[in-house]
């Protein structure tokens, strides 16, 4: 029957294969809805606060201020501009953390819609990550203002960032792909077992101290607790974790190669931007993204029948 009407076929088997192509097509068709979901979650976040979106700007600043007091001031590790380094490293970390936490419970948050209206369920995860990307951009503006306005009045002009700064969108895309893949998997799990959310919270707290936010990845090369012959190996293995490299890459994109040891200590020269690690991280992120989409596609039809 030649037929121009829209056609929906319903069968017990979901989209064939991993469903990557069909998902992308469907999400594209629902792009207006995606935009609506992003706007909605941005609106809802600060709906009843008097200074609203300013909280998104103040929060990372306060967080880093507290960290700086402990690390830069009390412990006195790192160079004199440690607070700028920390605020810079905090950008990709905060995006990672809030995206995972928010999107893991995104389907549960929208369960009333999922149970009553059809929409590609990936959309809920994607919208959460996009909303967090908007917060990332706002935090980035705070960082730029801090480094190039506030501190440059006190300590003088810090100088232009290295040319790798132009890779910022690429590195951010790599991170976003990685985060999206992980989020899809975590979201599928959390929808069935809410325990996952609490495990995730604790794990992220631990992982934070494992990331080179409060210190430098380069410090591992000089860590006295690690046996001498293992230090270089430990350093390279450490950077093979996509998130550690991304956090380090953010510092490398904004700061020139410099001595990052505290004043009066043996100098530690920061590592240059490594393009091999960029390629490697891009590959890992792509694998994680595809795995996440395939897994989510397999699980999404069971969401409304969860225990």
């Amino acid at each position: 029957m030649p037929d121009s009407r829209p056609h929906i076929h319903i069968s017990p088997t979901p989209a064939p294969g991993w469903g990557i192509v069909s998902t992308i097509k469907e999400v594209y068709a629902y792009r207006a809805m995606l935009r609506m979901l992003v706007i909605r979650s941005l609106r809802l976040r600060y709906k009843n606060s008097s200074i609203g979106v300013l909280w998104s700007l103040i929060m990372p600043l306060m967080q880093v201020l507290v960290l700086w007091v402990v690390v830069g001031f009390v412990l006195n590790t790192g160079p004199s501009n440690m607070s700028a380094y920390m605020l810079c490293a905090y950008l990709p970390w905060n995006f990672f953390q809030t995206s995972l936490l928010d999107s893991s419970s995104s389907v549960l948050t929208y369960m009333d819609i999922v149970e009553k209206v059809y929409l590609p369920r990936e959309l809920l995860v994607f919208a959460t990550i996009l909303a967090n990307a908007v917060h990332f951009v706002m935090a980035l503006i705070v960082f730029l203002a801090y480094r190039y306005l506030i501190t440059s009045f006190i300590f003088g002009w810090p100088g232009m960032p290295p040319t790798e700064i132009f890779l910022l969108p690429v590195v951010f895309l790599i991170e976003a792909a990685f985060v999206t893949g992980l989020s899809l998997i975590l979201c599928a799990w959390t929808t069935f077992y809410e325990d996952v959310k609490y495990i995730l919270m604790v794990t992220l707290n631990l992982v934070f101290y494992f990331m080179p936010v409060l210190y430098f990845a380069e410090n591992i090369r000089y860590a006295e607790r690690i046996p001498l012959h293992l230090r270089t190996l430990a350093y390279h293995v450490y950077l093979l974790l996509p998130m550690t490299w991304i956090v380090m890459a953010f510092k490398q994109m904004f700061f020139k190669i410099a001595n990052i040891a505290p004043r009066g200590h043996v100098p530690i020269i920061s590592a240059p931007f490594d393009y091999r690690l960029l390629a490697y991280s891009a590959l890992i992120s792509l694998v994680v993204l595809i795995a996440g989409m395939a897994y989510f596609n397999r699980m999404k039809w069971k969401f409304t029948e969860r225990p």
Binding site: H7, I10, P12, M36, K116, Y118, W301, T304, E305
Partner: protein
Amino acid sequence: MSKNDNLTVIDVRNIAKDFRVYHRSYGSLKGMTADWLRRALKHEPSVGFSIRHALSGVSFAITSGETVGLVGRNGAGKSTLLSILSRICLPTSGEADVYGDMISLLQLGAGFHPELTGVENVFFSAMLRGLTEQQVRDRFDKIIDFSELDTSTMDLPLRMYSSGMQLRLAFGIAAHLEADILLIDEGLAVGDAAFQQKCLNKMREYQSEGRTIVMVSHETDSISRFASRVIWMEHGKVRMDGPTQEILPKYIDASSDEEREGVKVG
């Protein structure tokens, strides 16, 4: 009448749906671990859930322009059937095809958020049902007119609305959606008598435009007024399927019989 006269718009072939009914301990990490250990170590079958056959072997075809009433007692599988047709869940076996634009109103006002304003909720809710932003803008005045709300109210957060206002707004949105096929679960008429009349008129309008309507209702009254055909479901199967004037009296008889028996037993 629409151009798609007498074409099949919904074709359901041998649909079955099994649900797992999880026992209370399941779903927690402890219960699952215990269940997993039992299966792994003692080779016992999982006791975490039992299977409930919500639908088994349901088949029917609906042609364009028909208004079909789905009737049956609670748990007969009517809502499950609508969920499968709306792609909320997948069938366990069997297939179905839907031709044409379909919207399913399983719940009026799905996606409403109490903290958002009326305007924001209208845009979100209507776009969730497939309208474009431009279409919502074009119909916006008609929607608030239909809902009997005014512009100043629409800027207030939804939590300040009375439940009647919320229902009217939800129906106002539903009444201005674009679809050839409508799936409706319960509660067609909301609000006071005058508003109910308006809702019913809207339904008549849909019918006269040749659109297909599938409605689930416990009110045999509204079924007899609107539906040209009745599908009577029982225990997840189609018990009878035919013209309203033929099937509905039998259904009403059967239910009142059951009621009487229930009284005797009780």
